[in-house]
């Protein structure tokens, strides 16, 4: 009886407000969200979180210090994309921490931008951070500027900038496409210490080869937590790990079920795998 009502109700829901075909995505999102929020609230209540060293980030202070010593600027870019790209946002978060730290050194922090909205966010961010650090007079709006949104025009302008300004350190943190190696080689030619990080799988190899330190994929997103040592951010990194445990457990279970399928000829594994299918709207 109750089951019938529920089915009818669910069917009606299906037609109006909730797409049952996408229930699995909703559950996945809820699980990941719950894992992260749980760890964040744990951290908020004062739970200590350990976080492993990320090689590229330990070099940040050295790089900034070196720039100040040599009296040369630091170049930072988040790549071509806009604020609707999460990796770019992660890059901007790191820019904030970098601005706080570079405030003590008084070296020029140059941010050439390929996206005007990213430029405005970066300006706001750096200004705020320098003010918080007590050096509002060190903010120079002209150092964070828009070049052009065309990929290779932007790349050539940044290459030129590297040759002329000879930065002591260069940071490429965000979303990059084919221009990654252009930037990194130009920077290497100018003798800069380079730290790169991107979520774009196909560009990581180029950064690894041409840069001194590279944040691989996910490390980019954990970087702001590592740099700030902020309890809530550390909590979210912990949450990320928890979600990873969930995924690994699901994978292990699925693989085992598939083996059972192979050995005994049943269809549990295929059923399990079908849980992860999403019907595409054509």
């Amino acid at each position: 009886m109750l089951g019938d009502v529920l089915t009818v109700w669910l069917q009606r829901c299906d037609a109006v407000v909730f797409d049952l075909d996408k229930l699995n995505v909703f559950v996945g999102l809820a699980l990941v969200g719950a894992a992260i929020m749980l760890c964040v609230s744990h951290a908020r209540r004062g739970g200590a979180v350990f976080i492993r060293a990320v090689p590229g980030l330990q070099a940040v202070d050295d790089a900034l210090g070196r720039a100040a010593e040599l009296g040369r600027p630091v170049v930072f870019t988040t790549g071509l994309y806009g604020v609707d790209d999460v990796a770019t946002l992660a890059g901007l978060n790191i820019l904030g921490h970098l601005a706080s730290r570079s405030a003590h050194y008084d070296s020029d922090l140059m941010v050439p931008c390929a996206n005007p909205v990213v430029m405005t966010v970066a300006q706001e961010l750096v200004k705020e951070r320098l003010t918080q650090a007590g050096y509002p007079e060190r903010y120079r709006a002209d150092n964070i500027y828009f070049i052009t949104d065309e990929q290779f025009a932007y790349a050539s302008a940044v290459c030129g900038l590297m040759q002329r300004e000879r930065p002591a350190a260069a940071f490429y943190l965000g979303s990059f496409a084919a221009e990654s190696l252009l930037l990194a080689e130009a920077g290497a030619g100018a003798g800069a210490i380079q730290v790169a990080g991107t979520a774009d799988v196909s560009q990581i190899p180029f950064f690894i080869v041409a840069c001194d330190y590279t944040l691989i994929g996910e490390e980019l997103f954990a970087a702001s937590a590592y740099l700030s040592r902020d309890a809530l951010l550390l909590g979210s990194v912990k949450g990320q790990d928890m979600a990873k445990v969930l995924i690994m457990a699901a994978l292990a279970a699925g693989v085992l079920l598939l083996c059972v399928d192979q050995l005994f000829g049943c269809h549990w594994g295929t059923w399990f795998a079908s849980l992860f299918t999403v019907t595409e709207a054509l």
Binding site: A153, S156, A157, Q163, E219, D241, K244, M248, Q262, F272
Partner: protein, 236 residues
Amino acid sequence: MMPESFMDLAGVWIAALLSLCVFSFLFKDNILFKITEAIFVGVSVGYGIVLSWNAGLHPKVVVPFMEFIRNYHDKSRADFFWAAYMVVSLGIGVLYLSRFSPRQAWLSRFPMAYLMGIGIGIGMPLTIQSFIFEQMRATLIPIVVKTNGALDWAASLGNIALLAGVFSVLYYFFFSVKKSDPVSQTVSRVGIAYLMLGFGASFALTVMARISLLSARVQFLKDEWVEGTLRYFNLL
């Protein structure tokens, strides 16, 4: 290849000279490259303006909006909502201009937040769907494969190698675990090994594409510039 008209001939010459100026940067940063770079940036900004008007704002918003105003009496409710929404968006966009006044600059945070919110909201379910779920489904493979009732060794070993890679790399990325015991260190190392092999392979794989790009440029200089010019003046 022969240039069709005098304008094309002139264009090919400009293109060829600009290309050579870009290549001169490899030797040394010089005034020719600087001029080329200035031209490139300038032209691309102009191009961006024209494109965002002619391929974005004009056909997608301005034309429909004008059409809406002209025939507003026989429009459906949805169209009214659309128009109202566009006006609101215009309002949000105008807040951007507050950046020009130092005191009201904080207002420009609204459009930034608005764009970020939209991007994140649309992106989150799609991330789960097309990255996590898709990749997980592709990784769900049995470690024992039977073909026609017999154990398929090659396929089984391949699947085991793949799964070992996925798990060890995922483990390598754990941030909040102290990896001090030998077991976890080994697993991490296996993860790094997989990563490095993968990266080396992708680097090498792209060499061919990049060389083709250079070949195409050389081909352009040879065929269209040198030979094309000669053909244009009937010298070849």
